[in-house]
């Protein structure tokens, strides 16, 4: 067994004992990254040389990791997997990267994402499709596709991604690993290329909950460069994981999870995924956690996806208006400045992105704002209010991360179907409310991994992590390496 497939605790022990050096770890990670690149395409950039380590005393010093390619790294190409930034080398470091560097963690490379982090399937990056390490014919989900693949393949023990709707938690589920999105503001967004600022989170991919706690510990905290960042809660997450969860109360949403809803559905994967979910709930109850079924207005749930698309497209249109090819990025051609900007954006973005920008622009237009943008905001408020009201009684809610396993590339997806409208989009609740939310593996369906998700109250990252950690121990699905890893 290689070192990079191990947990952070194990690698730490080997480093401290001198069984392996950080140089050797970097080389191992780099070689694997190169080896798997043609099959899975997890990286945009694989570093040739290990960066200088600054600190030798943290849990992460000497440990290799990867960053999603929409996180600013000074002197290292950062493309956001878009043609418009294909040669963009930032001049400053994102706070999350700076903190990891200061902690001595070793960057191996930058991961492929869906172009500009938009799109949830991992197929729209400018360097090509990311494949699922459990089955090359399937997608891994996005937008943190390459990051999830790199962790699932055992190239690195952790990766940093971003989560705007489900961009870390969904690929974590499809990759059989852990994806943790802390409370909004827990980790500074400074240096994360903005997709939808009010929904964007830096999030973490690992192969077990404790590793997610370790990494969050290092990168959390208030940042003078991000006004929305929270003061540090002073908690050491990895140390509180075994705090008692007895008596904690979780709910699941009846309209999403109750099998009765799917009586006439012949999607066997869906049924099996839900059955596994309910079996897991029984094990959760064995931990002394109470789990109740709660009903939420179906209309409100059906509005989640449209509201998410409306808000995120609108914000994305504005956030990406800096990509004009004048002061950085792909330079367009033309006789006037307008023509140059037009040309850069025409060449620089894929059709999908352009469609979203057109939508976003339409949504923000004076005559449409009230009906579209502001109403979407109201839906967001309504669902968050509803969840917060439930949080007066419950410590969190537990749901299947997805209604099934990772789809095949050629699978037809009806986004307005029962499954897609609610079951595939409830994760955005975590982004709407800024709630801490974590996905952990929940076994397999048809030999492909599935996940469950736990979302808790704002600021209670520690409680969410400890519930997840204890469920993980109960289920035993941890430190999974994908079948595709040779």
């Amino acid at each position: 067994m290689s070192y990079t497939e191990k947990s952070i605790d194990e690698i730490r022990a080997s480093l401290d004992k001198g069984e392996v050096t950080s140089e050797e770890l970097f080389e191992e990670a780099r070689e694997k990254a190169l080896k798997y690149q043609s099959d899975y395409n997890a990286f945009v950039t694989i570093l040739d040389k290990k960066e200088e380590e600054k600190n030798k005393k943290t849990i992460l010093s000497g440990i290799p990791y990867a960053l999603k390619d929409n996180i600013s790294t000074k002197g290292i190409l950062t493309t956001a997997s878009s043609n418009i930034l294909k040669d963009y080398v930032p001049v400053y470091d994102a706070t999350v990267y700076r903190k990891l560097k200061e902690a001595g963690a070793v960057l191996v490379g930058k991961n492929v994402l869906d172009e500009l982090a938009m799109g949830g399937i991992g197929t729209t990056g400018h360097t090509g499709v990311v494949r699922n390490p459990w089955d090359k014919n399937r997608l891994i989900g996005g937008s943190s596709a390459g990051s999830a693949a790199a962790v699932a393949l055992g190239i690195v023990p952790f990766a940093i991604g971003s989560d705007t709707g489900d961009s870390v938690r969904k690929p974590a589920s499809f990759g059989g690993i852990v994806g943790f999105k802390p409370t909004y503001g827990r980790i500074s967004r400074y240096g994360l290329f903005a997709f939808a600022s009010s929904l964007d989170h830096i999030a973490i991919l690992t192969r077990n909950v404790k590793d997610a706690a370790y990494v969050t510990n290092i990168v959390k905290g208030q940042d003078e460069y991000d006004m929305t960042s929270l003061p540090d809660d002073g908690k050491e997450y990895a140390k509180v994981l075994d705090n008692s969860v007895k008596g904690k109360k979780l709910f699941y949403i009846k309209e999403v999870c109750n099998l009765e809803n799917y009586k006439n559905n012949n999607d066997l994967e869906l049924i099996e995924t839900l059955q596994k979910f309910h079996q897991t709930l029984d094990k959760v109850r064995e931990l002394g956690i109470e789990v109740d079924e709660v009903s939420i207005d179906r209309k409100l749930l059906s509005a989640l996806y449209p509201a998410y698309m409306t808000i995120s497209c609108a914000e994305a249109t504005s956030n990406n208006a800096n990509l004009i090819g004048i002061h950085f990025g792909l330079r367009g051609e033309g006789k006037t400045v307008d023509e140059m900007m037009f040309d850069a954006r025409t060449k620089g973005f894929s059709e999908l992105i352009k469609r979203r920008f057109v939508l976003g622009s339409f949504i923000l237009q004076k005559e449409n704002q009230e009906r579209l943008f502001l109403n979407a905001g109201r839906i967001r408020r309504m669902i968050v209010d509803k969840i917060n009201e439930l949080f007066k009684t419950y410590d969190g809610f537990i749901m299947p991360t997805s209604g099934g396993i990772a789809p095949k590339f050629d699978e037809e997806i009806d986004r307005l179907s029962e499954r897609y409208l609610i079951l595939e989009y409830h994760l955005v609740i975590g982004n709407f409310g800024g709630f801490p939310s974590i996905t952990i593996p929940n076994g397999f369906v048809n030999e492909m991994p599935i996940g469950i998700n736990i979302t808790g109250r704002v600021m209670e990252d520690d409680i969410v992590l400890s519930i997840a950690h204890q469920i993980e121990s109960k289920l035993g699905f941890k430190n999974q390496i994908a079948k595709g890893a040779k």
Binding site: S72, T78, P90, V91, T228, S318, L323, H327, F328, M341
Partner: protein, 474 residues
Amino acid sequence: MYKVVIGLEVHCELKTNSKNFSGAKNIYSEIPNSHVSVVDLGFPGTLPVVNKEAVKKALKVALALNCEIPDEVIFDRKNYFYPDLPKGYQITQAKKPMGRNGYLMINVNDIDKKIGIRQLHLEEDTASLDHYGTYSLIDYNRSGVPLIEIVTEPCMNSAAEALAFLESLRSIFLYCDVSEAKSDKGQMRCDVNISLMKEDAKEFGTKVELKNINSFTNVKDAIEYEIKRQSEILDQGGKILQETRRFDDQDMKTYSMRSKVDAIDYKYYVEPNIPPVKISKEYLEEIKKEIPPLQYERINTYMNEYGLSRYDATVLVREKAIAEYFEATIREGADPKLASNWITAIILGHLNKFELSINDIFITPKMLTNLIKMVNDKTISIKQGKEVLYKALDEKKDPTVIVKESGMKQIIDVDAIKNWVMEVLDEMPEAITQYKNGKTNIIDYLVGQVMKKSRGQANPAMTMSMLKEEIEKR
């Protein structure tokens, strides 16, 4: 004849250490792109951090303009594409500007007028563009500089009123110490909305917006040109187009830039990266305390309480430091009218001549007061007083010391003066005859003779009355 209706949109750059949303220096520099941070360039991943000092200064002006202040500070994005706008949007305030429904008093031809302020908001400046034949250059030094925009009601009716408003507004910026407000550095800029209507009309005429006006004189010229242009069109039965026009200060004409029909939709929405911050009453009180008495208020005090003319009062309040100097002199016990005369006549002249600020001069209000008192109690003559003040300014010496050192005390000893009077009259009997024959102005000549004998130290008033007395006797 038409009634002119004018509204102004004034931009003013605020004086702060750093820019509105980044740590780059807010400083005027001739070297392009020397004060630029990644935030000012809108590089991917950067986030705005609000400059508290800029917020405070914007609130200060809003309070000085008697505005209603919102309960919280929030910002909005104004979205449009332009090469001088690196983020593709400008952070500004649309929903809750720093101030609403305020006013500013102006005075034109001795008539007071209240100019309504529709709103005041805080935003960031754009980069500056220089266009050349086949290329343009961008300077990002200005990108992100804190800027306030003040929008008036359409309530001014002449170029003179617009100018008076701009001058009063500028004085508020200076008095509140929020900006240098120099138009030649682009720190204060103005757009003009102007329409014409028949005297008896009930509705405003079609509005034309004038942009690119870079000095107060140009505001006046642009308005006057536009009144002429629009009047001619209306006289011929034509229609005014709703449009934006640019003023060319070479040929002093306005030219059409774009029609308002294709006005841009800026798609304003709340800036998500800046959480709302409540404005407390205590904080506003604290800011209010820092606002000094303003020009309009001071002019009224000077006129009503000190009996100064509007002209003198206006001269004294032109700069806050001068007004404060004047007031300090009065507090030292000087007579307000005399203090005003000495300051406006001599000290301001000295400042202009040497391009000094009143804070640069050696003469303190206390020294000036002592000088005024010496003249007032006839210790020295007015003429001597002036000489002493000039000398004091030039040599940076206390006037009292100069008077003492040069033995310049006025002679008020009756016997001494009487001796000189007798001597002069004895020497010029023909002058007495002339005086008695009605050529009374010869008395000035005689006073001059006494002064000569006394080396200028005899008290002129005493000399005059003693001469008259003695002539009558002869």
